[in-house]
């Protein structure tokens, strides 16, 4: 069952099936669900960055008009570690009454010392983020060196560059906030939730575990989903609160976070700051890369960079030394955000490379071509369609393409050249991502006697046009139009499916859908062949038809389906089990290197215009070339790639969670002071998708957002001739860098 050699639909531009429903507001998101007798819930949150609860008085609140139920999650004596931590939830008949009830609650706190700034927490020894004895503020998150680094690293150096780079904490800013509607049945035994989630079955399972009831008693529905970007993998505490409140009230409860809550507790991309020392020999080959970096995962733990991928992409640098520290702060715990760690790695690596190239007087494109990692010899033999086997070839082709698309050779100038106060510049950066698929993703296909085709699975469509992906594959195999396929996703009762994280949904579902479509076709042929007095082998699919090769007869699809009589045909398809994949190399190669694959490369060039009098940077163009293996829907791929670039431009120029040192609170939990670009702030975006069908399907979600910020940073450096070290590259920081070229403001 490889992918069809002749592709009629795969790789073409297919409009998303649910586009009309979405654009006319008829698509019902979790936020839009209104159940009969539905109540509304709000959460009371700690206003202090670090505090202990002295007392909670809810007596007045429980007498306010419309009050329905209350659920406590914190109690007097508890220590809370960030502003926004949950104390309790309250449900009332209307949202207005829920707000009133919340306001009527009295809580006394004992404020405790806090930290919300990385550099300060790093300096302060032995105080105060809290969380018990094992919770040091600063924890080592990686320490590595190649052998004899000190002796060898800088021996052949023709140029050495040492500088600090960094990027601030940002928010996912999902437009549909986190939350759900929870409804118990009359016997209070079965729970249905309409949740905004990237993991439909997991959300149901987690709630079942929380309530200690069988998983079959919880159903999760997510027909439409308003953005997740890595922040929505379960019910979260607000899901538990909503379900508890619904049980206590014996009424459905809607609990969606408001905007301030969304930005304060709905997830963040962690910061990363680091000193980088990089050296190259006189041929421009990078000989040494040394990085000492830190970042904050919030009050949680964990690295904020992808430690093993430093330096990023250019992994064949011979002498590497890296150290990373996680700095805990009194703010929400970081969540995965679109290519976790990679944009930070890319900023730390690619900007240092450009600064080094400038010292060597080498064109940034030449610098990259010289230092690309080679195609791996073992991989060429054993796994010839993998990233390892192809990376040098892919990047070389991509650089060549993007160089022509952007007219680099004509436009590029040495850093800082140009007259007048408005400077223009070009910058380049490379990225990589895994994006592998896996199972289980069972998919069921039903062919009806009326010619209808239904494709069902529990996977979710986050805006990735997943319904359309399924329809394209099924239609390709059955010779139909994607519009002919009815696709149902986002309901947990359709069985297990993998969460939509790490660009794994398209590669995880597509092979299973292909298998299901082939099985359905075969079952269909088996059912109708006897009624047509032919062998199954005599039948084949042609567009819109079933062909009886024996009689050289073309039967329109509906007529062929009519031969099914009363019984529709059903078939399922899914991945082999992990054990089967491990034991059987042929099967493993088919599913993980030909039907799907992992590892992509991408290259982006950004063009900026910098006003050196105001410090305002305008990104005017971004050219993006991306490999995703086999392209399923070119239209959807291009959308996601351009969208990734937009998110990257936002990361480079606008976004930052700003925490107030004194109160410890986020001062911009909104959309006016937390800056996101509008249409007129955006560059022209030129996307080129490399279609490599022999590689199989690879995910597209994360990769195209990774290198944009570094490309913009490099373009600014190229424009003004000085490095703005810390993103976002705001006017203030640009002016500071121009005023003090040896180190800008954070």
């Amino acid at each position: 069952m490889p992918w069809p050699q002749q592709r009629r639909l795969l790789g073409t531009k297919v409009q998303r099936l649910d586009g009309a429903d979405k654009s006319t507001g008829r698509a019902k998101y979790s936020y839009d669900i209104n159940r009969p007798r539905q109540c509304h819930a709000r959460i009371l949150r700690c206003p202090h960055a670090h505090a202990r609860i002295k007392s909670i008085d809810t007596t007045v609140a429980e007498r306010t008009p419309g009050f329905k139920s209350i659920h406590m999650v914190a109690k007097p004596g508890d220590e809370l570690y960030f502003a926004g931590a949950e104390l309790l939830g309250i449900a009332a008949d209307t949202e207005e009454h829920a707000e009133d009830a919340l306001r009527a609650i009295r809580v006394e706190y004992e404020p405790l010392p806090h930290h919300v700034k990385e550099a300060e927490a790093l300096r302060s020894k032995g105080s105060t983020v809290g969380g018990g004895a094992e919770a040091a503020n600063v924890t080592p998150a990686g320490d590595y060196s190649t052998d004899n680094f000190e002796q060898n690293a800088y021996r052949d150096a023709a140029a050495v560059h040492e500088a600090e780079y960094g990027v601030a904490i940002i928010s996912h800013q999902c437009l549909e906030t986190h939350g759900l509607v929870a409804q118990w049945d009359e016997k209070q035994e079965n729970l249905t939730v309409w949740a905004s989630t990237q993991a439909v079955p997991n959300t149901a399972q987690q709630l079942a575990q929380y309530f200690k009831i069988p998983a079959t008693r919880v159903k999760c529905i997510t027909h439409y989903m308003g953005g997740g970007f890595g922040s929505k993998f379960g019910p979260d505490i607000q899901g538990q609160i909503a379900a508890e409140l619904a049980k206590k009230a014996a009424q459905p409860v809607k609990l969606m976070l408001d905007r301030a809550e969304e930005v304060t507790v709905g997830g963040m991309r962690p910061s990363a700051y680091g000193k980088v020392k990089i050296a190259a020999n006189k041929e421009g080959l990078i000989q040494a890369f040394e990085v000492d970096c830190y970042g904050s995962p919030g009050v949680g733990r964990g690295a904020t960079v992808n430690f093993n991928l430093l330096p990023y992409v250019y992994v064949n640098v011979p002498h590497i030394k890296r150290k990373h520290q996680a700095v805990r702060l009194n703010l929400q715990t970081a969540r995965a955000m679109r290519a976790p760690g990679h944009p930070q790695n890319c900023l730390l690596t690619e900007q240092a490379i450009d600064d080094l190239a400038a010292k060597l007087n080498v064109n940034p494109i030449q610098m990259r071509l010289r230092n690309l990692p080679p195609n791996d010899q073992d991989a060429i033999k054993n796994a010839p369609t993998t990233y390892l086997a192809l990376r040098h070839t892919i990047y070389t082709q991509q650089i060549d393409l993007v160089r022509k698309m952007s007219d680099w050779d004509r436009k590029w100038h040495p850093p800082g050249q140009g007259n007048g106060p408005i400077k223009t510049g070009l910058g380049i950066a490379l990225h990589t991502w895994g994006g592998s698929g896996r199972g289980p993703n069972p998919t069921k296909i039903t062919i009806g006697a009326d010619g209808s085709v239904l494709c069902q699975s529990s996977t979710q469509d986050l805006g990735t046009a997943q319904r359309t992906v399924a329809a394209i594959i099924v239609a390709e195999i059955l010779g139909l139009d994607p519009k002919d396929i009815m696709v149902e996703v986002g309901e947990s009762q359709h069985g297990p499916s993998t969460p939509s994280g790490g660009s794994t949904t398209c590669p995880g579902t597509s092979p299973a859908i292909l298998k299901a479509a082939e099985n359905a076709r075969d079952a269909f042929f088996a059912a109708i062949a006897p009624r047509m007095n032919v062998e199954v082998a005599d039948l084949e699919i042609a567009p819109g038809h079933v062909v009886n090769k024996k009689a050289n007869q073309r039967i329109p699809w509906r007529q062929a389906c009519a031969r099914l009589g009363m019984n529709p045909v059903q078939a399922t398809g899914d991945w082999p089990t992990n054990a089967q994949l491990q034991q059987n190399k042929e099967l493993r190669d088919l599913w993980t290197t030909r039907l799907s694959n992992q590892g992509v490369g991408g290259v982006q060039i950004a063009e900026v215009r910098v006003d050196t009098e105001t410090g305002v940077v305008r990104c005017t163009n971004v050219w993006a070339v991306q490999d995703v293996g086999l392209v399923v829907n070119k239209l959807g791929c291009e959308s996601q790639a351009a969208g990734g670039v937009v998110m990257g431009v936002n990361y480079a120029l606008y976004e930052e969670c700003i925490y107030d040192k004194n109160s410890g609170r986020l001062v911009n939990p909104d959309m006016e002071f937390y800056k996101l670009a509008g249409i007129r702030d955006m560059p022209q975006i030129h996307v080129h998708m490399m279609d490599m069908p022999e590689r199989g399907v690879i995910g597209i979600g994360e990769p195209p957002t990774i290198s944009t910020a570094a490309a913009v940073g490099n373009a600014i450096f190229n424009a003004i001739g000085v490095r703005v070290p810390f993103a976002p590259f705001t006017p203030e920081r640009v002016l500071a860098a121009l005023a003090r070229p040896q180190g800008g403001a954070r």
Partner: protein, 212 residues
């Protein structure tokens, strides 16, 4: 729907509301039964025609996509919340809830407004149009049609707001240039980053070629 903005029957002006709201606030503090005369300024005639609203739910009627819809809401309820929570008209989305992102955009008498930043009681007697009005049976209005054609939407949560804002620009000026349309979308924010595809849709709607 035709209605005069000056007619007292056309709804409540902001000034009327604030004055009536003052009376309502008074009654909350225990002076229930206080008449509006107590609110009148010396030298002004008593504003006896001003309906007293709140603090409890008041019956309202809204003209949504050509249909009269009735409900009862407290005067503090925004047009957005009345539409979404009380009338189940959910095409307008609540995202920032404070007049920044445009996801709640509806047309009020043909003008795009942030429905999160207006009270429901103020919208009475005015023709309200939401994204749901841009499809008639299976027939899509050209604006959402181009959004679909060029894939100018991903998660789609901002999309109805963009679509309504764009429809409003083109209704006001059928000869709008792409520049004009982009101007009209400055009050809307998309997080998935569909601006590039939106530009394709805009150029197509304006009958302009885009790129060579």
């Amino acid at each position: 729907m035709s209605s005069s903005k000056d007619s007292p029957k056309s709804g409540l002006s902001r000034r009327d509301f604030l004055r009536a709201g003052g009376a309502a606030a008074t009654s909350v503090t225990g002076l229930a039964g206080a008449t509006l005369e107590t609110q009148a300024q010396p030298g002004q005639p008593p504003a006896s025609h001003i309906p007293v609203l709140g603090p409890g739910p008041a019956k309202i009627s809204l003209n949504v996509n050509g249909r009269e819809m009735s409900t009862a809401v407290e005067p503090r309820v925004t047009l957005l919340d009345a539409l979404r929570n009380y009338l189940d008209v959910t095409g307008c989305k609540r995202v920032c809830d404070r007049g920044t992102c445009g996801a709640c955009t509806v047309m009020l008498e043909g003008k795009p407004v942030y429905s999160c930043s207006m009270l429901a009681v103020e919208a009475q007697g005015k023709a309200i149009r939401t994204a749901e009005s841009l499809v008639d049976g299976g027939k899509l209005d050209p604006v959402p049609e181009k959004f679909v054609q060029f894939d100018a939407q991903q998660c789609g949560f901002c999309t109805p707001g963009f679509v309504v804002a764009m429809r409003a620009v083109l209704d006001r000026n059928p000869k709008a240039t792409p520049e004009d349309v982009e101007q009209g979308l400055q009050g809307n924010i998309c997080r998935c980053g569909t601006y590039e595809q939106m530009r394709d849709a805009i150029y197509s709607l304006c009958n302009r070629p885009r790129r060579s």
